[in-house]
Symmetry: C2
Subunit: 218 residues, 2 copies
């Protein structure tokens, strides 16, 4: 059946989406170092796709803030300085505060709490995994939080920022980046949401983000 492929995540993505994913990974993994000029012909050959298809992917990457435009449309991998990382985390904090607050106001939070605890368990499971895996499970938790609000716009805004967040972590070094990802902190967030105390949840998120940003730029 058709749904099987969908359930298994095997639906064949368009070349554009594959290219987009590949480029995102290449940038956030550091394979394409910050500041590097991205030559369309070069990349299209590298990814084995046409320039037209590549350009569509680049537009999306640009919107996500992973590449920035220079003179005459020349694109290059974005370079983040300390201030930009702080700025990114400010916006991230604002969005996730909204998420936490929204979740606090839901009448029935049991399902939400369950999903979040499952995400935390996934983090625990990856504690002794690679740094990349730990980052991944951490971002999963936060993305899940945004998704559970049911606010598509919020989720979309967060996902638009996700690339920048990844770059921030990568830029500061994965070791540093992972330092903020304690299970305890995330349990605090879930606990705050469980109480339904919106301002407590908001403050918990904010502290989490502030300390994360502080560690990253240190």
């Amino acid at each position: 059946m058709a749904a099987t492929a969908a359930l298994l995540g095997l639906e064949k993505k368009s070349l554009r989406e594959q290219a987009l994913a590949a480029l995102r990974t290449a940038i956030t993994s550091g394979a394409l170092e910050p500041g590097r000029h991205m030559v369309e012909t070069e990349l299209s050959e590298m990814l084995q796709i046409s320039r037209g298809t590549l350009r569509e992917a680049l537009r999306q990457l640009q919107q996500e803030g992973l590449v920035s435009a220079g003179a005459r449309g020349r694109l290059s991998v974005r370079h983040l300085d300390a201030k930009e990382i702080r700025d990114i985390y400010s916006v991230r904090a604002a969005l996730e505060s909204l998420a936490a607050r929204t979740l606090c106001e839901l009448p029935d939070r049991q399902h939400v709490i369950g999903s979040l605890r499952a995400a935390i368990q996934a983090m625990e499971a990856s504690t002794h995994g690679t740094l990349e895996e730990r980052v991944e499970s951490d971002l999963d938790f936060h993305r899940t939080m945004c998704r559970l609000t049911g606010n598509e716009t919020l989720l979309h805004s967060w996902e638009s920022l996700e690339g920048s967040i990844r770059m921030s972590i990568m830029f500061a070094g994965l070791e540093k980046g992972v330092r903020n990802m304690s299970v305890d902190r995330h349990n605090d967030i879930v606990a705050a949401i469980e109480t339904g105390d919106a301002s407590l949840a908001r403050n918990t998120i904010r502290e989490h983000m502030d300390s994360a940003a502080a560690v990253l730029v240190a």
Copy 2:
């Protein structure tokens, strides 16, 4: 000199940017009604550009949430319901709260206050103008607020939301949309920022956004 053209805003934009602007206007003005299927060949002919160029613009529009993808990559003009408008305004409130709070924490706010008052004067000047002009000057004020923070990520996130905001106003009807745009309310915001009281500024913004959303979905 080359700078002259730049200063006058006369630099020739790429066809993609022109197309993007044209499509944005067409959608937010209602010329392309919500739900309408956007046929690439049709639009490229209408705009007198090639499909490749058009597709790049469409990718950006998609990222901004003005068009949504259906089956097999079919794009259609996004249709907003009441919940989505509330959701959009929740995110907007979160972003602008951050903006207001950030401005409150600036050591020297005189320049900021001046720019914001100028934006309000522009609103006053358009009080008896067309509805579109009033919406424009209102959005200018809020965009300016985000820009003055110096947080490029915040500005970018807000601008990504701008199209959705415009659609919300358009969808609810311009008459309704304009109802929130009193000069007084905006003076309150500036006054709050001037005092430097971050939580006051935040609450002022939130109330402004909440009532705006309430009027729009009423």
